[in-house]
């Protein structure tokens, strides 16, 4: 079943910059889809449009067969930058989405404690974000998003700012949390390895304005071990095929940046 559908979607900003041109993309429900492409190619814009934070300039964008108007219900968004409210404790940050939904107090307390425990932050409920490491803040953000059980999870290079070890750890935890949850994930990254290790399907986008260049099924079995899967021969083979596509786009955007500079 198609849950998200973009048909000829174009986004031109007020500045005149066209981030997306005629993007056509259908996403099947309950799949983990990675969007890869050169930096600044409009991947993040795609997520903004799906979440309803921004409007397409033309084309149609539907989620669950309904055109997106206002914020799309049932969507969670993990941002690349820190988006926790610095003036709220870990507990209050995780509670906020439930509070906004008017969940009753007992249920709210139960779910908040459950998710704080699930992301391994028990004992840090009273901490403020500035007192936590980057990896811990990402865990809070994950709990804050998953606590209200969104059907669709949009992730915009959420682990890009972390060191490699923490990053691998978080990727593994994300897969554990997602596995069997029935959620649809769209995961934006410029890291092809991350994309293949995590996703069911990798969508390669062109240098901006972004279009869909190619789509690849990732047939690696699940559950996956983030550390081990990279040594699977199928992984290497997929990587080589995709990199062929991606390389042209990266070179293209690189050449353009140089020409502009």
């Amino acid at each position: 079943m198609t849950i998200i559908s973009l048909a000829n979607v174009t986004k031109t900003f007020d500045s005149g910059y066209t981030a997306l041109r005629d993007v056509n993309l259908d996403v099947e429900a309950e799949r983990f889809v990675a969007l890869v492409g050169p930096s600044g190619c409009g991947k993040s814009t795609t997520l903004s449009l799906i979440s309803g934070l921004d409007r397409p300039s033309s084309g149609t964008l539907t989620v669950r067969d309904r055109p997106v108007e206002g914020i799309t219900p049932g969507v969670g968004f993990l941002f690349q930058r820190d988006a926790l409210l610095p003036w709220k404790t870990v507990r209050d940050n995780v509670r906020l989405p439930l509070q906004l939904r008017g969940v009753d107090a007992a249920e709210m307390r139960r779910r908040v404690e459950e998710w704080i425990a699930r992301v391994g932050l028990r004992g840090f409920e009273q901490s403020f974000p500035y007192q936590l490491s980057g990896g811990m803040r990402k865990r809070v953000a994950l709990a804050q998003t998953l606590v209200y059980d969104p059907e669709i999870l949009l992730m915009d290079e959420p682990f890009a700012a972390l060191d490699v070890q923490t990053r691998n750890l978080m990727e593994g935890e994300l897969l554990n949390l997602w596995q069997g949850s029935g959620k649809t994930v769209i995961f934006v990254t410029h890291d092809l390895e991350e994309a293949i290790a995590l996703a069911d399907e990798v969508v390669v986008m062109t240098a901006g304005p972004a279009r869909v260049k190619a789509r690849y099924e990732v047939t690696l079995p699940r559950p996956r071990d983030i550390e081990q899967v990279r040594f699977d021969p199928r992984f290497t083979e997929l990587y080589a095929r995709m990199w062929n596509d991606l390389r042209d786009e990266v070179l293209e955007s690189y050449a353009r940046a140089n020409a502009a500079g």
Binding site: I71, W87, Y130
Partner: protein, 260 residues
């Protein structure tokens, strides 16, 4: 390295400050004693102290300070409330902001002292002429700080909360206002000073009590000790208010990393 980044010893700093004040007062007193300075124009610390003591005996100080504080607090509350509400309104709509902010900039450029006689004309020698004088100063300080604070908020925070399903009001409550709070706070500290200035200046122009009235009355009698005495009382007032604010700020901004 550790030595260099350590903050200065608080006790030592206080001791040096106290010594500087004592030295300045002694120098002043001494210059009057040996006749370098004419006490008619410059008074002397001992005379000022005597004046303050006699005011205290007459019960003037508590009454004057009470009146001035009442005006200052009313001015701060009313001006602060108007400033914050106005800022929240104008910052939440691109249209309202574009239309009205330039007017506020324009009004803010009026030297407020020149309006005080008008306020006294309109409201008489009452509490309200003083409060209004304070309000027209406080309002702008708080407005601009809050407005800038709201505009300065990290857009990612707003986006995050919106995706969670926050209404405009919830965005205001959970993101914009807490984010502006740091700014509002630092503005409130200077706003207290402005509120006091507004109240005292209005008292100076026409009142029956208050520290400003006391200064004006002393001046009319060519009593320089009285003028300095009034100023001293004002200084002590502002100092105490600032201490209270620092305590409040520490309690309300616990989420901020402490910088040494």
């Amino acid at each position: 390295m550790r030595e260099r980044t350590r903050p200065a010893n608080r006790g030592l700093v206080l001791a040096i400050q106290a010594a500087l004040i004592a030295a300045a007062l002694l120098a002043w007193e001494f210059s009057v004693k040996i006749g370098w300075v004419d006490p008619f124009f410059f008074s002397a610390p001992s005379q000022i102290a005597a004046t303050i003591a006699s005011w205290w005996q007459h019960g003037y100080i508590l009454r004057d300070v009470g009146v001035t504080m009442q005006e200052t607090i009313f001015g701060l509350l009313v001006g602060g409330a108007i400033g914050i509400v106005l800022a929240v309104l104008l910052a939440s709509s691109r249209w309202l902001g574009a239309i009205f902010v330039p007017f506020l900039v324009l009004f803010n450029s009026i030297p407020r002292v020149t309006l005080v006689p008008l306020f006294i004309l309109w409201f008489g020698f009452t509490l309200w002429s003083k409060v209004v004088s304070a309000v027209v100063l406080v309002l702008f300080v708080v407005f601009f700080a809050t407005y800038d604070g709201i505009k300065d908020v990290d857009p990612t925070l707003v986006a995050n909360v919106r995706v969670m399903g926050a209404s405009r009001f919830a965005v205001m409550r959970h993101v914009l206002i807490p984010s502006a709070l740091t700014w509002i706070f630092s503005s409130l500290r200077s706003a207290v000073g402005f509120s006091l200035i507004g109240a005292v200046v209005a008292e100076y122009f026409g009142a029956q009590a208050g520290v400003g009235y006391r200064i004006q009355f002393s001046e009319s009698q060519l009593n320089t000790s009285g003028v300095f005495g009034g100023l001293f009382i004002l200084m002590v007032l502002v100092f105490i208010i600032n201490l209270c604010f620092q305590g409040l700020q520490r309690r309300l901004l616990v989420w901020k990393p402490v910088d040494s």
